[in-house]
Symmetry: C2
C-alpha cells in the first residue's frame, strides 16, 4: 500500500508542476508537443525529418529525454535546431519537474514550437503530464497489431498516432487494418497517420496535420478539431 | 528525495522476496528464466516457438506479465503449456512479490522449467530481480543499433540476447555489426544469438544454448560457462 500512496502523491505533485509549465507555455504563446513511443520506434528519426521540413518556417527547440546518453540531442543539434538533454538516470519517464528545471537553463525566447522527446517506454510516460498541449505517439508497425490493447493508456492519450516504418509493413506479417482497428478501439478520436521516414510515405499528411495542430494550440484552441 | 528513498526501500523489499523465490526454485530443482524486451520485440512469439520445440522434453510452465490483457497467456495455453497471467495494472514491470503470489496459486509440481515473460519495457524490469537464475533478452533488430548504449542495464544483465526479426534486417538499414559491438560494449560476456521466429534462422543455436543453460542451472552451476 505504501507504493500506491507514494505514487498518488508523486502524480499529484507532477500535476502541480505540469499546470505551472502549461501556464508558462501559454504566456509565451508556445506550442509544446510530447513525443512518445517504445524504444526504437523512430521518434528521433521522425523529429529529424519533421524539423528539416518545419524549422525554417517555425522557430523550434527540442528537449530530449534519455536515461544516460546525449546521442539524440546530438542528432537534433546536427539538424541545426537548439536541443537540451535531460538524462533521467534510472527513471523510465520524463516528469513535469524535470521540464521546469530544463526551462530554467534552456532559453526559449522567440521559440514558437517546443518538441519534447520522452524516454522510450509505453507505460509510465503516459501517466506524467508535462504541461504539453499535444501528444504525438510514434508506433513502429513491426511491433505488431495487438499493442494498442496491451498499452491502452498511451494510445488513448495520443492526439495523433504515427504508424511509422510503413516501408517494413509488407515484410512484417502485420495487418494494418487490424492495427488501425485496435488503435481506434482504445482511442476513437485519435488521428492515425501511416508514415515512413525512409521513403517519405505519408509525410505530407503528417506535416499538414502537425502544422495545423501547432497553429490551433498557439491560438488557444483545442489540439484536435 | 522522497521518491529516491522510497525506491530504495521498494528495491530492498523486492530483493528479500527474490531471495525467497530463488531458494524455493532451488528446492524444487526448477530452472527459472526471465524473458525481457521492449514492446513488440517478439517475446511471446519466441516463447511459442521455443515451447513447441522443448516442452515435449522438458516439463514447462509459463507466467505471463501484462498491464491488462490475457492475450499472451491465451497464446501460450494454445501451445499446450500451463500458463498463469499476472496483470500489473499501471505497473511497468513484474516484481518478486507478484511472482511469490502467483506461485501460491499456480501449482508447479513436476515442472522443470518456468518461463516468466515480463512486461514489455527496457527500463524498470531490469531493476527488479524475480529470483530467476537466467535472464534472456529479446531484441528486435529493427529497433536500431544504438539501443544497447541507451538501455545499458537491461543488456548488461542478460545472459543471452536474442537478436530477433533477423528476416527484417535486410530492409531495415540497421548494421548488425554495429549492433553487436554496442551489445558487447555494455555487456562483454553476453551470448548474442541472431534469430528469426518466422524463418527459423539461428533457431538450432538458440535451443542448444537454452537447453544447456537450463541443465546448468538445474545442476546448481552458474547460468553461463
Amino acid at each position: 500500500m505504501e507504493q500506491v500512496a507514494v505514487e498518488t502523491r508523486i502524480l499529484k505533485k507532477n500535476d502541480d508542476y505540469a499546470r505551472e509549465n502549461r501556464e508558462r507555455f501559454a504566456q509565451q504563446n508556445l506550442a509544446v508537443v510530447n513525443f512518445l513511443s517504445a524504444p526504437g520506434a523512430g521518434k528521433t528519426t521522425v523529429l529529424e525529418r519533421t524539423l528539416r521540413d518545419l524549422s525554417t518556417r517555425i522557430r523550434t527547440a527540442v528537449i530530449e529525454g534519455d536515461l544516460y546518453t546525449t546521442l539524440d540531442r546530438d542528432r537534433i543539434a546536427a539538424v541545426g535546431v537548439p536541443a537540451y538533454q535531460i538524462t533521467t538516470g534510472t527513471c523510465c519517464h520524463l516528469d513535469a519537474k524535470m521540464i521546469a528545471k530544463a526551462l530554467a537553463e534552456f532559453p526559449l525566447n522567440g521559440i514558437e514550437l517546443l518538441c519534447i522527446e520522452n524516454v522510450g517506454n509505453l507505460v509510465c510516460p503516459a501517466e506524467f503530464d508535462l504541461g504539453e498541449q499535444l501528444r504525438v505517439m510514434v508506433y513502429s508497425v513491426v511491433e505488431g497489431a495487438d499493442k494498442p490493447r496491451k498499452y491502452p493508456l498511451m494510445f488513448h492519450q495520443a492526439h495523433a498516432v504515427l504508424l511509422n516504418k510503413m516501408d517494413l509493413l509488407p515484410y512484417s506479417g502485420v495487418s494494418l487494418q487490424e492495427l488501425r482497428e485496435n488503435v481506434l478501439a482504445v482511442s476513437p478520436d485519435t488521428v492515425i497517420l501511416p508514415v515512413s521516414c525512409r521513403t517519405g510515405e505519408g509525410w505530407p499528411a503528417w506535416t499538414e496535420w502537425f502544422t495545423a495542430a501547432i497553429a490551433r494550440v498557439r491560438s488557444g484552441a483545442p489540439a484536435c478539431v
